[in-house]
Symmetry: D2
Subunit: 340 residues, 4 copies
Amino acid sequence: MLALAKVSPGPGATIQHREIPIPKDNEVLLSIKIAAICGTDLHIYSWNHWAATANVQIPGIMGHECVGEVVDVGKNVTSLTKGDRVSVETHIPCGHCHLCLNGKSHICENLQLFGLHTNGCFAEYATVPEICARKIPSSIPDEIASVLEPLGVGVHAAQKADIKGKRVAVLGAGPIGIFSASACMALGAESVSISDIQTSRLKVALECTEVTTWNPISVKSSDVLSGHNTPDVIIETTGNERALQEALPHLRKGGQVVLAGLFAGNVALNLSSDLIFKEATFYGIHGRRMWSTWDLMEDLISNNKLNIKPALTHHLSLEDYAKAFQIAHSGEGVKVLLTP
Amino acid sequence: MLALAKVSPGPGATIQHREIPIPKDNEVLLSIKIAAICGTDLHIYSWNHWAATANVQIPGIMGHECVGEVVDVGKNVTSLTKGDRVSVETHIPCGHCHLCLNGKSHICENLQLFGLHTNGCFAEYATVPEICARKIPSSIPDEIASVLEPLGVGVHAAQKADIKGKRVAVLGAGPIGIFSASACMALGAESVSISDIQTSRLKVALECTEVTTWNPISVKSSDVLSGHNTPDVIIETTGNERALQEALPHLRKGGQVVLAGLFAGNVALNLSSDLIFKEATFYGIHGRRMWSTWDLMEDLISNNKLNIKPALTHHLSLEDYAKAFQIAHSGEGVKVLLTP
Amino acid sequence: MLALAKVSPGPGATIQHREIPIPKDNEVLLSIKIAAICGTDLHIYSWNHWAATANVQIPGIMGHECVGEVVDVGKNVTSLTKGDRVSVETHIPCGHCHLCLNGKSHICENLQLFGLHTNGCFAEYATVPEICARKIPSSIPDEIASVLEPLGVGVHAAQKADIKGKRVAVLGAGPIGIFSASACMALGAESVSISDIQTSRLKVALECTEVTTWNPISVKSSDVLSGHNTPDVIIETTGNERALQEALPHLRKGGQVVLAGLFAGNVALNLSSDLIFKEATFYGIHGRRMWSTWDLMEDLISNNKLNIKPALTHHLSLEDYAKAFQIAHSGEGVKVLLTP
Amino acid sequence: MLALAKVSPGPGATIQHREIPIPKDNEVLLSIKIAAICGTDLHIYSWNHWAATANVQIPGIMGHECVGEVVDVGKNVTSLTKGDRVSVETHIPCGHCHLCLNGKSHICENLQLFGLHTNGCFAEYATVPEICARKIPSSIPDEIASVLEPLGVGVHAAQKADIKGKRVAVLGAGPIGIFSASACMALGAESVSISDIQTSRLKVALECTEVTTWNPISVKSSDVLSGHNTPDVIIETTGNERALQEALPHLRKGGQVVLAGLFAGNVALNLSSDLIFKEATFYGIHGRRMWSTWDLMEDLISNNKLNIKPALTHHLSLEDYAKAFQIAHSGEGVKVLLTP
């Protein structure tokens, strides 16, 4: 089969021909229909500081967002059969630690990540543990099904904070930012504003949901996030220190911050004025709840409350990976899909 | 009357003779029985960077923690009469902003602080707004009544996080740290450990409540905050960047951090590993709830669930202020009281 | 002035000519623009069992939902001046009890109700405590402003339960039912179904918001509240024992019930199967939060998220009170307004 | 093996000799060390209305509270081996429904109960699904390990309501009542009072934890649950309608009620005055969280925060079952243990 692999530390990736893998007892084999490029894949592709220290399996097949069809099942698999269409939950829990036993398996003490610590889905076939394969209703088309994993991060962000009737500012109009903004509007936020330094991404956000947008290059955040628009909630998806530093002083007293974007290094925060005097709350989020976020997400899609189609801006063949990565990296596209 | 005033920017303070103030329509005049030195007073006394930028009223009488007797009342005062014994809530709310109207007056949008933005209580008499004068049951002795305000910060910390059945690590065994540890044990924490670089303060903590202690100078936090003692909750009261940085990596996944200590400058945090991957929650707290924290605190004291007497290590005359500040500053004492 | 008064126990009410009242020190005098009939008024008018035991002031002027203009202020009033347009919050808190001091003044230990324990607003003029007079933005028209008090009950119901992404069933399409349904949709419910035995009211509900409707006379609740439509949340607004009894068995396990409608007598509940085995939660609500519900409600109206105009089905002159009460009582109308 | 079985509808039970069962693939075989009699067993033994309609498997071996040693394992069992000492969680979840997938498997949509819908533990051996067998630390003695299941109900009750710093009234001093009271004190309740019509049970409660007690036969609840002792939280464990009806009017406004005891039939409640006007919250609980309650319970025991030994009042041989049931039924004992 064709697969896009990271074969050594350093920038880039390599198309390889590999054997189709055989599922272990607790695994299923998927024929990948569509995969999608995540920010994490960009880090690994460009091999930045974070990637170099993130314990990435090398050599290994890249990719973790996808939809596929079950074509083989291990002998202990009971909940899935050949022909099932599934999306993959990237977080592979151990099932035994105190977090797994307490409804928080998505942050399992022994968490493994699909496509990072294991072979992933930028390939014609992939094996995934049964526990991470989510059967998807037929009403959800393949393209949407391929990005449920990152969509789940946005829905989880909107679940984590109390956004009901609140003013939300989302930092960053990449996939996670746009998905968060869409989820907040679907789940009862009073209003959402979203920022990005790429005007093209703000346009995509406007196609997806009812937001106001601002480009911090051309307008000051103090002009946008003030008065009646002072945010009750900030959702940070950029991983950019300065974006966070500029936004925090505008948070309302008693407000909430959800941090989803990964920062490459330390972040300097004025905790006294931005957290303590305000009695603010900062929530870190990683992934999405298994499986309440998925349940909710599918309900929202079924009831036409999430319109994320415009965010799927590009769709290429896996063999065009270099171009696909360039589009995703440049910010020209929002979500870039790959068909193996 | 005798008063300890800050008469100009720069280190130190000055004993003055002043007129006894006259309460405004919504104020009461207190004859101060006992006042107590807070960390904030130390900042103002030594005139550090924080003090220089904190909008301190100069000239002004210092001090905000106290118990006193009402000796005069303004004409609009309805809830207090001469002879009432009261403690002072430092946070002076406006009563009109959205936070005041929503049960969060302690972080009022237009918050004024007694003894910082107004004349305070290091004096024989002080005027305070009726809204900040809390009548205290006679069962609570004067010494305890003089420190209800900082005790409230500790109780508020224990209210803010979900500490029921949890392992708590408290950073710093100054007054706020010891009060937080005591409140956590009173309110159902599974266990509490507390750190300080002054062994004498750890001894005081042990006299107050059932904690384990560690001195980060002599033992590594990784030896203390690991295995079965991995903390579910960290309460930070030092305002020391390094203390926080060293403790955070030990926080359990899904854990909570309460930040009460003020940091002089920016704090460099590894948000990705210490907040985001862990799905941790950081809560800032400032002061205490008006008045649920006070209600709870008085109940805990009445039911003998808080034993803070050992933390009141020194009691001097106001005229001995220089010595008192030196004791408080050096960490030789925990809570230092002053009688005008 | 003209006023509709309850002059003695028993059915009916009487139009009287009275002196214009003089506001006390802490009161304002309102010139009533529009008042609205509440279910409570129907109880008092028909003088049922509840009314007979509810401590209604007799003789007294009826009515508590209204918008008016401030035409005089008592000498201690500071937040309002002549010409201000205000709605009235029916709940008059004491300001001193532990609930008032803890952000729950709407259920004050010493609660008085405007128009029930005091003279009300079915009159040309009424006095109200400053603390209950809410200034209303000019963007909200008089008709809407006259029903903010009952609209607040619906918004409070939607705030009380966790409705974000949830399926909600509302029992009763009277004003509170329709307002609750509208608020749930505005605040992120996945879907809302609403029941009533009057088809005309269900039509009004459909005009106000995006709901599904059912008439329990013609369809079985088991046909409606099952399968994918099994409710996560039930909001009960009928005060009808049978409506509640029929709905509860359909509540999802782990579900929530908000009880807003008043029951005339005891209600027989199968607590074992409907509450305990399901680990359900029942929330009673009374009125609305002061003032977070009002803040949120005004925001929702400003952002065009609540369309309650169709529920204001009738508007009569105060002198036509008999007809107005008949329309409200029969269920022919939803909300019936009165102009003095 | 020896087993106590329900062989036909109607009062009583029968000692039988049976084959030792063989565990299925996902089951373990336990050699039962100690079992304990639950209120549910009393219902089934006396065959009251509840039992007759509860879908009890007949013929079937009774009993569900126990500690035992694993002596055989099914071929798919991975987490347990021979020699492990385990307690049994009565709730057998399906593992696939939305509640199982959302951290609420203890109220699984397809819940089966061990010893009710399956053969139970009043026998020398019993098979249990691996998913319900909880390995117990060796520091917990057998007698305590045999009652962790009902102790978990008490701990779950104390987890469900917000009891931190609150006054709690527990109705009933049977095992669940005493365990609830003990857990509330361990988890930070301000104070706990407990009622029972059997003075002997109140004595046991006093031996277990620091409570006040009252016997509703000799004192009026209005004398006990008033003034400073007005309860913030009521935990109902009697299943007695009158006990609940008498207590509810004393609940503080804004208070919480946890309902754990099963009622044989409908319960007549004055919802308007006892739930709605008070904005009270009623929580039903069933069993305990899997596995957060178990984790917490074991921590509390390890830290000597639960002293339930005095509640284990009797310990008989399984063959003396008739006497054991009589002791449990009469209320002479609190928790009655059986050794097969």
